[in-house]
Symmetry: C2
């Protein structure tokens, strides 16, 4: 980008979008960070397109002038993927928030990228269908696809990888392509859909999504159980998964997380490691599943196992669970959360959690909470750091890296669902090696030869 | 490839592999075709590597000399993907047929690419696990991944796309990369695993696979039901899927296919369109599922619905179903099968089948049978053509293309599971448009800059 190019590009964008182009300080600040500890940076301008054609036009202009582009959904990411470290133009898709079509007979729908998951579920409530992916935050579906998000329901319903049928993408030079059709399967050509899912805005802008929907289960039940020891809880999870019980959610929380939740959500869960579970199915099936898991937990010394189909009780428990991250942060006002995110084969889950727990206990006084989508082998330690204390950051970073290396050694990945963004670029190199990274970079170069798309993300 | 390069490359390959390099006529002929109507072509030599390192060495040599390379599994494909239209070197991976590891606790395994699906299932029988993807033929798992194969069980268990955890791939220049880890999910970088799945040997050679396994269900039942009309059968399928009954298989066969099967497999199924179904679950659940589907079929005038948990009865029915393609071919000895393979959103399935049926009835006298994995919206008409009659080929081709265009107009794909190979390259362009194809070609160029990998396939 030459110095002269940026003002010209911004002028052209202003002609295109009028007031939907902003260079105001507060708007730029709002688009300079996500929910993570990563240092903010300001975009030079923020666009608010209202159609895929407008996104394409924005990209044509930015491409012509070599201006960096960062797509932005709700800013609820946690690895700094939307931080415009190279400045340039932020494309905020939150105004593209229409549900374009719902086809109950095909159990799918078409949405613009700014539609959030809660908005979609509210919109389709009367159809008896729901969209299951739930990363906690009420993220935009475009952002969720870009991050390959998952969350609590993934153990049963899969991640964005499995639940996006196809995408419309605006390429860096402004061409619009469809990555596939609405058919449930296809053997036609390269899997462009999966290539863009998880590409974190580095290959183009997702401007439309075809998503799978599911019939709302006839019955849902929730269960809670507590253990004296995290290892027992994890072993109960492993056996549950291996037995093939189709749990919809199976969430691990340690005693510090429980404490944080009790304080934040005014609950009175025992201060012990525990599992929160959810079952979907027929009335008979949720009973069968709940009881089967109850027996497994008992065998691992789980206590106070209780399950309920009562809606109020379930909502209260899951609301508390959803606020877990905020509850953790409230343990140390003013602190920021350093979130880790490994995922390992389930046979190594107990080892990975135990070793990490010991590592944290022996090497820092930082407050940390454990939260895991353990049915998938995915868990997070969140460490609370003083944003003004570089030493605390360093401690958290070193622990996070050791944790990721531990997961890699166990056949796992450095990120189950948060993405690479800024924070895990070195770890990605460890995970894929020089040649794997070279292949990714060659794809990046092929699709974004000018390197304007979210520069500095995923790759060092 | 300069004229001088090929002999030099073959000489070097001979030094590397000794007798495991063949230039014999019959070996070359065996590797010159698949099971389709596509015109065979001979490779100049066939390699039989025994390790991934040997595959890498073969690729290094071929790359250095610009020699085309065609990976070969069992040769059971049906779109000509293994036909070496540009000559060069065929890499037959059938000697790489070891199961390298089975981890029941993680419900996954690692195999070499030449392991066939039946071989794997026999190998793991004692673990209580199974690998569900079943394209009919006893194909190699490497070939199944390369083709993004699926088949009868996909409606419940997904396709190769969902059931490969990660791959080891030999790149065109001989570098070996791992496309991912064994974790159930990951948000780390571009999805190289899914990129190679379905790439039909045009980006590299799959040399190792990590695959998901499933617990063998406690109970299995099979059911059969017949209809006066294909449309009724399809509508019963649509309602079954929309109701959310987790059928494991739901296969449609028309009356001509039934007749072919009866003759070939000595069965006495009524000569009517029918559904063959399978249910997996607990004893209670398979009963519940079977009965629920029975009720749906009755509402659509299905007759003689019967279900059984008897193993012998089930085996007989599925063996007959598996031989359906051979049964069809036996209807006209000496003929070759022209197989079609569209997949549409389920709401359009009845229309797509009806219009295709009418089109075939009104425009050809060729014998045709209908067979469909209809739970996914995927079906095949197979047309029997005289290999020596170009006019018959032309008729089949025109019908196949009209059928694919019909599927595309309905939001579907030109190939649900067979791949593009040689036969559907023009249709791929229709499906993705110029810009979509350009993106695929840019990826091809990035990963295989010399264009040695399976040239002439997928793309025109």
């Amino acid at each position: 980008m030459s110095a002269a190019s940026l003002p010209t590009a911004i002028e052209k964008l202003g002609n295109l979008l009028g007031k939907r182009l902003s260079t105001g300080e507060s708007v730029r600040e709002h688009h300079g960070r996500d929910e993570s500890w990563h240092t903010p940076a300001l975009p030079d301008a923020v666009c608010f397109p209202e159609s895929k054609e407008e996104v394409a036009s924005v990209l044509q202009i930015c491409s012509a002038h070599g201006v960096p582009v960062v797509p932005f959904g709700t800013g609820t990411g946690v690895e700094g993927a939307v931080v415009p470290t190279a400045g340039g133009v932020c494309i905020d898709v939150s105004g593209m928030n229409e549900v374009l079509g719902v086809r109950p007979e095909d159990m799918d729908c078409t949405v613009q990228p700014g539609v959030t998951r809660k908005q979609l579920n509210t919109y389709i409530r009367d159809t008896g269908l729901f969209f299951p992916i739930d990363p906690g935050a009420d993220a935009s579906l475009g952002g969720m696809a870009a991050t390959r998000a998952s969350g609590t329901n993934a153990v049963r319903y899969g991640t964005m990888r499995e639940n996006v049928l196809s995408l419309t993408v605006a390429l860096p030079d402004g061409r619009l392509i469809s990555t596939g059709r609405r058919a449930k399967k296809s053997a036609a050509g390269y899997d462009l859909t999966r290539l863009f899912i998880g590409s974190e805005g580095t290959l183009g802008v997702i401007v439309e999504l075809n998503l799978r929907l599911y019939g709302r289960p006839e019955a849902m039940s929730a269960a809670r159980v507590y253990f004296d020891d995290v290892a027992d809880a994890v072993n109960a999870v492993i056996e549950t998964i291996q037995t093939g019980i189709p749990v919809a959610r199976i969430e691990l929380l340690d005693e510090i997380q429980m404490d944080a939740i009790n304080k934040f959500s005014k609950t009175d869960f025992p201060l012990k490691p525990g599992l929160f579970l959810e079952f979907h199915g027929s009335n008979a099936s949720v009973r069968e599943q709940s009881e089967a898991v109850g027996e497994i937990c008992e065998a691992y010394n789980g206590s106070a196992f209780e399950w309920t189909t009562g809606e109020e009780e379930q909502n209260k428990m899951w609301a508390a669970r959803h606020d877990a991250a905020y509850a953790t942060m409230a343990l140390r006002p003013g602190a920021r959360a350093y979130a880790t995110d490994v995922c390992v084969p389930i046979s190594r889950l107990a080892d990975c959690i135990r070793e990490t727990r010991e590592d944290i206990a022996s090497s820092t006084d930082l407050i940390s909470t454990l939260l895991g989508h353990v049915g998938d082998g995915n868990f997070h330690y969140v460490l609370l750091v003083d944003p003004n204390d570089p030493e605390e950051y360093e401690q958290a970073k070193v622990l996070g890296e050791r944790m990721a290396m531990r997961a890699l050694e166990m056949g796992g990945t450095c990120t189950g669902e948060h993405g690479i963004g800024l924070g895990k670029r070195e770890l990605l190199e460890k995970e894929f090696g020089e040649d794997g990274i070279a292949v990714m970079l060659s794809i990046k170069q092929a699709i974004d030869p000018k390197g304007i798309m979210n520069p500095g993300k995923i790759f060092l």
